[in-house]
């Protein structure tokens, strides 16, 4: 069957988007592939379609539990039943069952941590896979060193003769990150499909403020005057709560979204946002990958993200329908200090390194550091990984370097904030690419007029449900 036929049969699309066919054809030829396609371009299809070409499971390594869950749900919506997520949500019994029947699935999603469990490793060794996918592959270098070291080990696992091809997907990889991906995954002279990271329909604005507090006031006025749907990104749960409450009080239909929300609430928020009853979401970076609303018109950053890649991912939620969208970055003097603090907060310190050594000297399991609440879980994971790789002197150097790198990332972000050159150009150049052309209303520096990109707010009553509980349950269950 022609690839186009399969595309239509299983996904209902008439034609491929740029890159998709090229990538799939190489995979069919058995080559390793790195595909860099901008946010929302359709990276998932590059591994979904091959699932229907080969007669063996596709393994997808995916970074976030929520993202994985979402990918599985999306596949099931497409009518695919042979799909499973192997992650820490499964209990031992479910896991065993899944492992026994692993060969019968078409798509197997898995977290790097799960991938490295002995039991799982052994099973995977016996299994013939048709394709190994690493989604959001920039995580290898963005998270591997200082957050989730297991990312660095994925490659070890597939380092054998005659392994199936590896596909690495990302929207936001610099040349350095591309290098990390290639070497840590031990890829074999991969074919690279690099699309421009630029999204011409996203228009880039920034606003500078004297005082931190002024930003919230500006947000309220802006949201009162312009039309969503939109997402407001901020740095903490409390901020997300307080900004959303302020907006609620002026009659905006808005919800806060962060890692502290219970899952049912998250579902309701996503549903209402998709449906349009919620117009705005005030979120921490927990809201992002895996949100499938294609008509988001505005992204507002209440605080600067800790690096450019995150910024790209976050503004990438907007304009997925191809229509114009506006991204506004707010900055007040001194914001970068806070961003730096946040970015380096969870790195192990020199003190931790010495503690670790002391535990070793006492012949006590260093893991107790974490039990004794002397270190956070993340920091311990990172410290433990490196202490088992190299001497403490090297670890100290390495940690120091990580800290400097993270600060440097914020500085890069600041360059973007402060540039007097085209913002789009700075952004694209950060990823080592030339800027090919500039759209109208390109950016704050080139000149931008909001009213040519977004609409005025249509004031509509928020429909409050005045139905009695009896009416409501009746209408849910049997309509009318």
């Amino acid at each position: 069957m022609q690839l186009e036929e399969i595309l239509y049969k299983h996904f209902g699309h008439r034609s491929f988007r740029p890159g998709q066919k090229e990538v799939i054809e190489r995979l069919v030829d058995g080559k390793d592939v790195i595909a860099l396609l901008p946010t929302g371009m359709g990276k998932s299809l590059c591994y979904q379609l091959p699932g229907y070409l080969f007669n063996a499971p596709v393994l997808i390594v995916s970074p976030l539990l929520s993202l994985m869950q979402d990918q599985v749900t999306q596949m099931k919506l497409l009518g695919e039943k042979r799909v499973i997520a192997l992650n820490s949500f499964l209990n031992q019994q479910q896991k065993q069952y899944a492992l026994n029947y692993l060969h019968q699935y078409r798509f197997i999603f898995i977290s790097p941590e799960m991938l490295l469990q002995q039991q799982v490793k052994e099973r995977l060794k016996q299994l013939k896979l048709s394709l190994i996918v690493v989604d959001e592959a920039h995580c290898i270098s963005q998270w591997g060193f200082d957050f989730r070291p297991d990312y660095l080990r994925i490659g070890e696992l597939f380092d054998y003769e005659n392994r199936s091809p590896i596909l690495a997907l990302s929207a936001t990889a610099t040349n350095k990150v591309l290098g990390d991906i290639k070497s840590y995954l031990k890829m074999n002279n991969p074919f690279q499909y690099i699309h421009s990271v630029d999204r011409p329909n996203l228009h880039l604005s920034k606003r500078l403020f004297q005082h931190h507090e002024d930003k919230v006031e500006w947000i309220i006025n802006h949201v009162l005057e312009t039309e969503g749907p939109g997402i407001i990104y901020t740095q903490s749960r409390t901020k997300a709560e307080s900004i959303s409450n302020l907006l609620l009080n002026v009659g905006i239909s808005v919800a806060s979204y962060h890692a502290g929300k219970e899952t049912l609430d998250r579902q309701f928020i996503q549903q209402q946002f998709l449906e349009g009853t919620i117009k705005w979401i005030v979120a921490t970076n927990a809201f992002g990958m895996g949100v499938h609303k294609d008509n988001v018109r505005q992204i507002i950053h209440h605080t600067i993200p800790s690096n450019i890649a995150n910024y790209m991912q976050e503004i990438g939620r907007a304009g997925r329908d191809g229509n114009d969208a506006l991204a506004i970055l707010l900055y007040a003097e001194g914001d970068e200090h806070f961003a730096k603090m946040l970015a380096t907060d969870d790195l192990p310190s020199e003190h931790h390194v010495h503690l670790y050594e002391n535990y070793r000297l006492r012949n006590e399991n260093p893991h107790n550091m974490f039990q004794n609440e002397e270190i956070s879980e993340t920091a311990f994971r990172v410290l433990d990984y490196w202490m088992n790789q190299e001497t403490s002197a090297f670890v100290l150097q390495r940690l120091n370097k990580m800290r400097i790198d993270k600060m440097q990332d914020v500085n890069e972000m600041m360059k973007f904030v402060q540039t007097e050159d085209c913002m789009r150009k700075v952004l694209v150049q950060y990823f080592g690419q030339p800027l090919e052309s500039r759209p109208n209303n390109c950016c704050e520096v080139c000149g931008i007029q909001y009213d040519q990109i977004i609409n005025q707010r249509q004031i509509e009553e928020i429909p409050i449900e005045n139905n009695s509980w009896k009416k409501r349950i009746e209408s849910i269950l049997i309509g009318n």
Binding site: Q69, Q271, T277, L477
Partner: protein, 343 residues
């Protein structure tokens, strides 16, 4: 305000004989000997495990608030005392129908099942079975799938039957409509998503915590109603299957109880189970609290019991130390048994 009243009321119930943390452990349903004994001693079954995920900071914030309002004074060692205005704050507050002891957070399992069933039925009725399940937990999804299949949910009448059960059982409850509304707002269906806590809190002009407490109270009475008479609500009682805990013992206490019922003595059980006698005694106290037919006469005679009850009355205390001084012929274990009876 509801949460505030609740915490204040529990502080009052503990009568200043514990630290403020006792209230926290009680609400979280900590399965430790101390907390479980306290439940019996102070008759706090209704409140045990109401908020299994209660965050310490939120609790501490509330304690500070109570202090700032001068409803309580904080004494050394994390102890406290209710003030006069604290006591009057507790007058004429609404009573909520909690039954924590028998649910301990399991009410959320009931609701998770129900909400996925309702969502599925809503989509089925409208002929569109492609939807994202609002419950992501695989165990719940699996359970619901089996439930729907084994009850022929697509027979065309299923929605009506379930609706009828939901409406008539909720109507039986004396809880006010506000509570029922909150519960139903957490349900959703096709093109009718449920509401978030933040939204309901805005609708009802209550804090999110208070909304959740009303919700829990309503679920408790609802499941009580559903499970009270067998066969009255055939579908709902299946959905509530094994949600209510009938003999709520810890696993270890349960093993002890089995041996005890076979007639082994405390010492014998302690040898068999290789546990300290004090631990076995804890288990026996736990059993006494839960089992209405507990054979007290094995350990105490009527006169002893009466003496202890008098002491509690005369000294206005349930502190074991003081009771021990007043009734020195009884052991701590015997005293705890009397308190476990809760009369």
């Amino acid at each position: 305000m509801i949460f505030q009243t609740l915490v204040l009321k529990l502080l009052q119930e503990f009568n200043g004989e514990r630290t403020v943390s006792a209230v926290y452990h009680l609400l979280r349903g900590k399965r430790s000997g101390q907390t479980i004994q306290d439940v019996g001693i102070f008759r706090l079954h209704d409140f045990f495990g109401l908020l299994p995920k209660l965050n310490r900071k939120i609790f501490d914030d509330q304690i500070n608030l109570l202090k700032d309002h001068q409803y309580i004074n904080i004494l050394p060692d994390n102890r406290y005392k209710l003030t006069v205005s604290g006591l009057s704050r507790l007058k004429n507050t609404v009573k909520l129908s909690f039954d924590g002891w028998h649910y301990r957070g399991n009410e959320h399992i009931f609701f998770a099942r129900l909400s996925l069933i309702v969502q599925t039925l809503s989509h089925q009725r409208k002929g569109d079975m492609k939807f994202i399940p609002i419950q992501q937990n695989e165990v719940v999804q699996h359970w619901v799938k089996n439930f729907l299949k084994s009850n022929q949910f697509d027979n065309g009448q299923f929605q009506e039957t379930l609706l009828e059960e939901i409406v008539s059982s909720l109507e039986q409850l004396t809880n006010d409509d506000r509570e029922k509304t909150i519960v139903v707002k957490r349900l959703g269906g096709m093109k009718q998503p449920g509401f978030t806590w933040q939204q309901i809190s805005l609708h009802e002009n209550l804090t999110e915590m208070d909304v959740q407490l009303l919700y829990i109270a309503c679920l408790h009475s609802w499941i009580d109603e559903i499970t009270s008479i067998e066969g009255k609500y055939p579908l709902l009682s299946k959905i509530a299957h094994q949600v209510r805990i009938e003999l709520p013992l810890t696993d270890s206490a349960n093993q002890t109880a089995q041996l005890f019922k076979k007639g082994y003595s405390i010492d014998e059980i302690s040898i068999i189970r290789k546990l300290k006698t004090s631990t076995i005694e804890d288990h026996i106290v736990e059993l006494a609290m839960n089992d209405r037919n507990f054979p007290y006469q094995n350990f105490l005679n009527e006169k002893d019991v009466q003496n202890v009850l008098n002491a509690i009355e005369n000294y206005q205390t349930k502190q074991l130390k003081i009771l021990r001084e007043v009734v020195p012929n009884l052991s701590y274990f015997q005293l705890r048994l009397v308190l476990a009876r809760g009369d």
